[in-house]
Symmetry: none
Subunit: 210 residues, 4 copies
DNA sequence: CAATAATCGAGACGGTACGTCACGTCTTCTT
DNA sequence: AAGAAGACGTGACGTACCGTCTCGATTATTG
């Protein structure tokens, strides 16, 4: 059966050796309709109230078709989300680390405050009780961006804007953790202005300079 | 009806104006047994798989008794958790802001990594699709601690350790956001050592000093 | 406890020996209100959907007050109904058996077709699965009338209108069974005209006279 | 949806127009097991104490399967009963109306006094507060027999045993009403001998012949 | 006049069954 | 072989009543 976890972690399904598998091929229409319905219903109801029954009905698809290709709700949501992943969260390269990171953080703020924010919240929220879901979120959404973030910070180091021994993960977890704190828990005060203040705090420090 | 959310946000149930409410009084035994079973089953199964059916059975209580006093699973968990809320997360007063905050953060790290961490994760996770639950978490768990945090930071300001114009919420969201980033999303690297490094980063800044 | 079956079969509760029992006496208001609510709700919902919860609420009475005085729903309904029993179903004495019985049967038809018919149907219907209820119906409603019917038929015999060896129960069961057949099962065609035709059939016979 | 009352009144379920309905077909095993359990439990407990929960458990069937096909307990019982309906209540053709009707009435007496009597009582009793149930009883149990009864009486008319203007429904309601009076209300005295006496009374009349 | 006693209303209690919903699996015909 | 359709057994949902209980308050008789 193809619904092993490989299909969640990588989008590879084809054996890609000349021969095609016999029988009716998988329907691309069904796959797309399921993704579309998943994302739409996820925004409306949140992860725990999202039912596969409803997805199948909404996508005009048999329930068995969903179960044939995805082992559980989490992997379906993770895949649907990552397919809709955006180019708008790429890091720019302006010549200034602070600008590069600040610009990207503001893009993220826009995403989180928009309608896709509900999906991100659903993924992280659902992930608290579903290890595979949070894993998928990390692998498919967070890590690709973090790779770029590393490069951006390293450019800053090589330009002398940041110290050579800077702990990249620590820095990024603190910068973005500040955003997620307001997004997930405080659920208020998440704005471009806040990004500027977080940047200033983390780069310059809270303590009084002597 | 007592099952409004007021009863979750404040522990006040008694009208306490001379007259008692008529009818058989609420059973304290039942309330305690329900709390106990809730916390126990929550650790065993996680929030989404926690069923009120199971709680009632485990507590030797009628299902209706649960529904009579709590409008949903979320509020029940929130209340049960906050009743077990800890003295161990108080802020000390050592004479140094950095020490005070650092010590408290390390206590929090210990809680999050321990068995009560599952409950915190369940509350924040469940709260992503239940506004009342995250509200309850903020009001009952987070805010009491934050009040102490404000005082601790203000002591630091008055002692000259921190600048007078310090944005308290910004500072705290960044410090604790860094922890929650690793607790909720990265799910790794949460340690006393990490607390020290976050403290150093936020207080002294990431940027190279001239 | 006073709720033995004596209290259903006879309305006698008072010991009626000079001494009154100590303590607060039973409330007549409550008893009447319960009877009233019982009959009203019985018409609205039928016996199986009649709940003691609803009766108590409707009568502004504690549930325990109902349970204190009646052992079950059946006895409550039977008593409430028999208290409302009518003078309008007495047998007249016109000098003709056929007239006497016909007039009474037409009165019964009017009762069955009216709003009290629902109660009779509820009693007989409920009695099919509750021996005490059908027993109460027989004892309290049917038998008092049948006693009068016997006398009416016997008057007819002594006047020579009916044969001396007439089986009274057989005759009455057939006359009234014909009505109840249309009331309970066929639920149509129950009218004064039908009474006349039943009378003619039973008194004169269906077979062709030679 | 198939669970309309049409499916109770007529046994027709198949559309039987060339095409089958799509999807997994209804399980005949489940249907039979539910019927069997219904009849068995009905005899044991009576209609009001018969729970669909218990039927489903006894039949090793999901509760939803019961609710999918029957709108309520009443229709389930009615259908289960009518499926077990008997050939033993057919009218014979002996050449004498009185014999034909008498024989059939005695068969009915045997049914009512036997274990299937409880079911008949449950149907008529339950039907007093459920119009659809009594309707189903009439349509499925009573009317088929009454059609035969009409023919039997008409044979008697054509043979000159009965007058040409005989009111068939009146006659049958009176004959059978007499039996049901003793079955439903008096709950005593229902015997073959009683049938003979009812026959004599209704055919020859109660009044004294001149 | 106080003490005693049974009632009253109110309403919470542990239960049971309700009828619904979604689960994940299955069985059919069609593509 | 995959598709849709939809029935299947399972089990939790939240609700309604069951009959019992525990309250304070009320209303009588008894000492």
């Amino acid at each position: 059966m193809p619904q092993t976890y490989a299909s969640v972690e990588s989008a590879e399904e084809k054996p890609s050796n000349g021969k095609r598998t016999p029988g009716r091929p998988r329907s691309e229409d069904a796959r797309k309709a399921i993704h579309r319905s998943t994302l739409r219903l996820l925004q409306e109801t949140g992860f725990p109230d999202l039912s596969i029954e409803a997805i199948a009905a909404d996508a005009d698809v048999g329930k068995a078709t969903v179960y044939r290709w995805w082992p559980n709700k989490a992997s379906l949501v993770a895949e649907a989300f990552s397919r809709s992943a955006d180019e708008e969260l790429r890091f720019p390269n302006t010549g200034s680390v602070r600008d590069d990171v600040g610009i990207q953080m503001k893009h993220l703020v826009r995403v989180l405050r928009g309608r896709r924010g509900r999906i991100v919240a659903a993924l992280i929220g659902g992930g608290q009780s579903d290890p595979e879901l949070i894993q998928a979120f990390r692998d498919r959404f967070m890590m690709p961006r973090r790779q770029e973030a590393y490069q951006t910070l390293r450019r800053g180091i090589s330009r002398g804007e940041l110290p050579e021994d800077l702990d990249l993960d620590l820095t990024l977890d603190t910068l973005y953790g500040s955003l997620y704190m307001r997004f997930l828990i405080r659920q208020t005060g998440l704005s471009d202005d806040y990004v500027d203040k977080v940047m200033a705090l983390v780069f310059d420090g809270a303590a009084k300079r002597e």
